[in-house]
Amino acid sequence: MTQLNGTITPAPSGRNTPKPAPRIWSVSDPLFRGSRAPPRQVSIQPPAQQPGPDAAIIIDNGSWQTKAGWSFDKTPRLTSPPLMSRYRDRKIGRTLCFVGSDIYADATTRGQSKYAFDPGSSIVGNWDVMEGILDNIFLKLGVDGADGGVGRPIVMTEPVANLGYSQKTMTEIIFECYSAPSLAYGIDSLFSYDYNKGSTGLVVSSAHTSTHIIPVVDNRALLTQATRLNWGGYQNADYLMKLLRLKYPTFPGKLNDTQVEEILREHCYISQDYERELSSYLEWTGLEERNHVVQFPFSEQAVVEKSPEELARMAEKRKESGRRLQEQAAKMRLEKLIRKEQELEYYKSLQQRITTETKKETKRLLDAEDFKDEIALDRRIRELDKSVRKARTKDVGGTENEEDEEPPTFPLLDVPDEELDEAGLKQKRHQRLMKSNHEARQRAKAEKEREKARIAEEERLDEERRDKDLEGWLDERRTARSTILQRIKDRERLKADLGNRKSLASQMRMKNIANLASDTPGRKRRRGGAAAGGDDDTFGANDEDWGVYRQIATGEGSDDEDEEDMDTTLKNLEAQLLKYDPNFTEEHTLAAQSDWSKSLVHAFLRGPWPFNPESQREINQIHLNVERIRVPEVVFQPSIAGLDQAGLVEIASNIITQRLPNPVHRESILKDVFLTGGNTLFKGFEDRLRTELRAVLPAGAPLAVRSAKDPIYDAWKGAAQWAGTQRWKDARVTREEYLEKGPEYLKEHNLGNAYAG
């Protein structure tokens, strides 16, 4: 983003201005609410209230939370998830049992927990857990069980059109196991509607596992017209979890259900105009507002941050020791130089003396100094002279001038072998070697010179061409650039193709591997190499043969050299184009085009901020953007999540306009569209439903949409209020009736299910 600054005009979206630092949300683990000692053997009379014999125990048996309390309570005393964990602790040799939020006490209790319902429905699937939950309710409410039973009437909620088996089993448990004096069932959303003083209207209840739409006329629910959409908070969380797992496949943290539910509650909302909002959701402008960052716990790798003073001190120290080393080396060099100079002096004086001495004396002197003859001495002197000069120039800092040096002579090479003795032959061999060495060096030098000249010439020609024919020159550059781009693309495609087992590239690669591995060379190699068969393997004779390993190597860094080469060439070309082509700007370079701030995928994954894959903090972040509206939208458009059912509005309009048995109620029903259930708590739910219903209803139709005062607890409150009334007395099934008529006996009432047979 900053690299574009100043070079181009600012993009209209304000891409140049860096986004403010993101606001970061966090997630919490499911809270363990602490140890509240369960009231043991508490009297049935709570201190403040004196419940009469009709004080009932109200249980809203929800699949998200069990809510339970006395009918005289204002709010449920007990709300806990319908979970139980019962397991045997081998260490202490005892079976332990925890219910509700107590299962969050530690990792074991949590890991052993079981859910009471059939996942994704509000039908009880595990009756042992259900019994545990009921036990816990009665214990926490202080039921003393004086008469060997619960001793108080029970009011319980059940799903719309509950399955006969579930209802029967629950009734059995309540009467057989807990010996309750009476039991009444009701539908949670109808209790909520009743509590909110509704009598005729359309109840839209979007709860944890399903969404129900129930028309109610004169306090009586038209259950045959009721419709269930199999989507609720549970499915939302499930869907969000799937999306997040796919969005961040390598996410290091662990996403658990409660965290996803929390994310759903905190960040998601219902869009008022889904498609319009969606189309601009990932646009740069305002993305920092729409994109929510959720930070998961992480541990940063310890990077010791050094202060500038410390860094300066360390650099100083390094320099100091370097200097000391240099001084030492210089001193040693100097000593060596002095020694050599002394030696040189000595040998020179020796040479002088030799010229004046007799042959015998010369021989003696030379022998004393271990020289074979005068030539050897001479060579030694020259060597010393050279090294002294070299050392001097080095210390002075001058460059060694090799051109000055006279070319070495190789006199022995011209002498035929017959005239030489053993030592002479040896020396001749040595000289021959030296000569070839020398010649090789000379050749290399010449080669270098030529190359330099060639490059200079090329540059000159290039410049000449550019001056003469700029357009043609530029065209050449452009084609070269596009060729490289094409090659880069091809390489990427090849890489992608190798990922697919059936692609041609993969098959070629497998063939090569098989050829290399087989003992008898394959057809291909025989064709490529020398035609000789048998064990005459010529693999490697040709340098190109080794390229086969390059072909079969995939994965990281297979083509590093090549890649770097292409990158540098591309950079050079782009630099030239930038300099001479007026139409080629920074924006056209590959680097700018692959800039992250222009990438939609980056905006989706990381929002409008750069991403550093090294940072543990950023790796453990989840960026929510489209998901914020995508997930809650499913209730309105179930096809998003692949649910083959009509959406909420379609169902509602269908019920109102077509399925009502008596259309005279239509207007009064429309005057009270009532929302309840935890899934309707999304911001904008009520408004969205109102606008969409308005759009499908005939013009001028009255419409009023309202929400329950408390979409989660009003069902319990409604049931508590209902208990004790005459309506309740008429609707409950007493123990005597149960014993007489069996577990499938049910009294129909306005707030309950019909007898399904």
């Binding site: 699937g125 399955l163 990932l282 692949g642």
Partner: protein, 169 residues
């Protein structure tokens, strides 16, 4: 691993002990309550059981009584008539009119053209294109690049989120 301090260990065990419901007396429970074995069923099983039962009731009804009268049936005529009466009753209850059941209140598939909208499987944005190879819907060229570089099985997972994956039975 360093052993936890005994005090900390103890306090946690004490906490667990205080939460444990096993030792708490539950006088309200019937000590003779014997739950039926295999009472845990999922919705699918329950629905299947119910429909099987209903079918068998229908079959017995069709096979007895009116269609195949049994004049002078021995045994206990009283018992037979009572059984027949209940059968007729349950038949009446079923044929009485539409009754809301768990399965028949489910919403039908949408008939509205608006439900044909296509959204990008990766980003959720509007998707005008479909990749014929992976069958994934995608928003633009850049997303298509991502689609084509998806790892093995990832495409299928995306399809599963939309309920369009291949189910092998």
């Amino acid at each position: 691993m360093a052993p936890a301090t005994p005090a900390a260990d103890d306090s946690h065990q004490q906490l667990l002990d205080s939460l444990d419901l096993i030792p708490v007396p539950k006088p309200f429970r019937n000590p003779n309550w014997n739950p039926p074995v295999r009472r845990n069923k999922n919705v699918k099983q329950i629905v299947a059981d119910a429909s099987r039962k209903e079918a068998s009731v229908m079959a017995t009804q069709n096979n007895s009584g009116v269609s195949t009268p049994q004049p002078g049936a021995g045994g206990g005529p009283d018992n037979v008539s009572v059984a027949r009466a209940t059968q007729n009753l349950s038949g009446l209850a079923v044929s009485d009119g539409p009754v809301a059941t768990y399965t028949n209140i489910e919403s039908a598939p949408s008939l509205h053209p608006a439900s044909q909208k296509r959204y990008c499987d990766l980003t959720g944005l509007l998707a005008p294109y479909t990749d014929p190879k992976t069958r994934l819907r995608y928003h633009n060229k850049e997303i298509f690049g991502v689609v084509r570089t998806l790892g093995q099985g990832a495409a299928e997972q995306y399809l599963e989120a939309r309920g369009a994956h291949v189910v092998l039975k």
